[in-house]
Amino acid sequence: MSVKLTVVLLLSIAGTSILGTIVPQNEDPAAYFRAYGEFVYRLFDVLGIFDMYHSWWFQFLLLLLTINIVVCSIDRISATWKIVFVKNPSFNLSRFRNLSQKETFAGNHPPKALGKIYQPIVSKYFGYTRVEQTDQGLCIFAEKWRWTRLGVYAVHLSVILLLLGGLMGSLFGFEGFVNIPEGEKVDSIRIRNTGKIHYLGFEIKCEDFNISFYNNGAPKEYRSRLTIIEKDTPVYQKDIIVNDPLRYKGVNFFQSSYGKMPSNSTFKNETPATDPSGEITLNFTNRKSGASFRIKTVLGKPVDLSEGFGKFVIVEYIKAAEFRGQNIGEAYKGILTPTDGNPLDVLLPLHFPNFDRMRKGALVISVADQEAEAFNFGERSEQRYYTGLQVTKDPGVLVVYAGFIMMIIGCYITFFMSHQRVCIEIIKGKAKSRVIVTGTANKNKMGMQQRVKKLSEKLANL
């Protein structure tokens, strides 16, 4: 348990974390199998690489880090505690006398009188002061911010709070989702990953769902009006948008996706609205000339593009594609291979025909059949939507937030505040007294020298 181990742990956590950013996490096993081949797949599976931040060995590293920080800090804090909580701080005159940097000037009064003049000034800057007799006159000791020596333990405690809060969340919280058609209500949700049903203990109704778009087709706002119902009585209502969830009894409802209800049919969560095996008409527009052409294809069949634009193939149908963390609904994923360039991924959301313009490529690609529908978004006369809500409960959040605040304050104290001590020695002379100002700090020694200089100038000018 030492800072050496800390460094080793910090660096091994950093190093292994990289792996989890190279290997996409929590994807479909079949996709991994295809991408890595059997051997690597099995190896990674055993080592938990596909969900590595929750694997036993990663959690073990985090646990070691926590134990290390706790043991080390407890070990050290008792020594620091004794320094910080003393009634009468002791000053070691010879240590101040041995400092190489001194500020010296002559005073016009005998030591006692000067001490009377200086003490209130020094006390204004430093708080604690004490005057002591010395063999050659007297000495004013002063200090401030002794308690800042505890700042680093605040930082370490904050790290522990973060890990503790995370643990509380994973033990006592949940993360799930639910889709609610407009006008309907539910009393349970599905837990993410496991797919288990979780009963809320109250009902939640979606009164209304609205979506608005910018001119370029990108979504502007999703808004759901939700009502909480307890024993058939509405108790709370709120419009939620992304970034402004509804919170009730520790459960949070976040706007996360939406979809259209098949007209006049009952709500089914699983059926894709589009048949991914059918024929797809693609629309290609030359960005420069504005000329456009259409080509019919099916999933997996490459099409040749004219004018040397290369090849395009649709490789995947995605039921709920994401863009910047937003669900943008159904989409095709394609690969465009220009004649003289590298292949690149192209995402074609069915409901946003202008989406591909953002790529700024020479050719703008869209799925043709859907255009008319997309422009009809405003008309909602018969179209019914469902709202997709992310539902979470995390009793650890408060602990984590307390850790956040503590970390910021603790880091500030540790970095920018120091325990500062000064000694103003006044030596009796024949006509005048000699005044020597010295000071030390446990951090930022250069800055302390500046402060000593300023204090000395102030006193010299009295």
Binding site: K220, R359, D394, Y401, F416
Partner: protein
């Protein structure tokens, strides 16, 4: 004139400032150093004006939001911050030689933002997830931190050059600030950067929690910012507990800045959902 034009001009002003500082280092003329300072100040004025104009323009387009929403805007903010922090350091330490290692970084960032074909300088509307005040706090604090790390990186390079030539054979290097000063500045900048990186990660987590209900999801960008945090935490412990200084701290600071760059640019190259993204 549009904000994009003004910011392009600012790029050239930063280029000129970097040129003056380097000329000052090479030719030892104090006048060149002063020119560097004034040009940099002028550039910052353009930079700030550009950001404000862009803000106003976005409101004119009816999609008003703080200009901190994409790669272009964050790079512009990053460059301005580097120059401001550098100018403060220059004033405090009364040394213009460091400018030759700080201002080129700002110039390169700005030039990349203005010239790279991969970067879109159009004002885009905000998608719903980005509509949050936490986003503004998040971007500002992250880039304050990154800017401080960039300067620490420059100081570390100077330190290493200095160590290569202890006897002072090269008259160029003899004009660098003392090793101790460079080392101290490196440490100060890392502490400043670390505080802001911490606040940046924290505001990001709070934002994620208010938008999606989970404050940490090990997404590659998050993970890389944590890796960066760990590298600098290692540096700070090595320094504060083990008393490391000098070369080893300089190397750690350089590695840390590489991690910053990867968090910023490299993450988009990783497989995953961020391939379109640039926040």
């Amino acid at each position: 004139m549009s904000s994009s034009n003004l910011l392009s001009i600012t790029t050239f002003i930063y280029g000129a400032a970097a040129f003056f500082y380097i000329a000052h280092l090479v030719f030892k003329k104090p006048l060149l150093g002063r020119l560097g300072t004034w040009t940099a100040l002028f550039g910052v004025a353009g930079n700030v004006a550009g950001i404000v104009m862009r803000w106003v323009e976005s409101y004119r387009l009816g999609i008003g939001h703080a200009p901190l929403s994409n790669m272009y805007e964050s790079l512009v903010f990053f460059s301005g911050t580097i120059i401001i922090i550098y100018l403060v350091v220059e004033r405090q330490y009364e040394n213009r030689i460091m400018g030759a290692f700080a201002t080129p970084i700002a110039f390169l960032a700005m030039a990349y933002a203005s010239m790279s074909p991969n970067i879109n300088d159009r004002i885009q509307p905000l998608v719903p997830a980005l509509k949050s005040n936490w986003l503004i706090a998040h971007v500002i604090t992250c880039f304050l931190g990154y800017a401080a790390f960039a300067i620490a990186f420059g100081m570390s390079l100077m330190y290493l050059f200095r160590q290569k030539d202890v006897e002072g054979k090269s008259s160029l290097i003899a004009r660098f600030p003392k090793s101790q000063v460079l080392d101290e500045l490196n440490h100060q900048m890392v502490m400043f950067g670390f505080l802001f990186l911490s606040v940046g990660i924290i505001t990001g987590a709070v934002w994620a929690n208010s938008a999606w209900g989970s404050y940490w999801s090990w997404d590659p960008k998050e993970t890389w910012s944590l890796i960066t945090w760990f590298i600098y935490a290692t540096l700070l412990h090595a320094r504060m507990v083990r008393g490391w200084y000098g070369k080893r701290i300089a190397y750690l600071s350089i590695i840390g800045f590489m991690a910053v760059l990867f968090t910023y640019f490299g993450v988009n190259l990783l497989p995953g959902l961020h391939s379109y993204g640039s926040v």
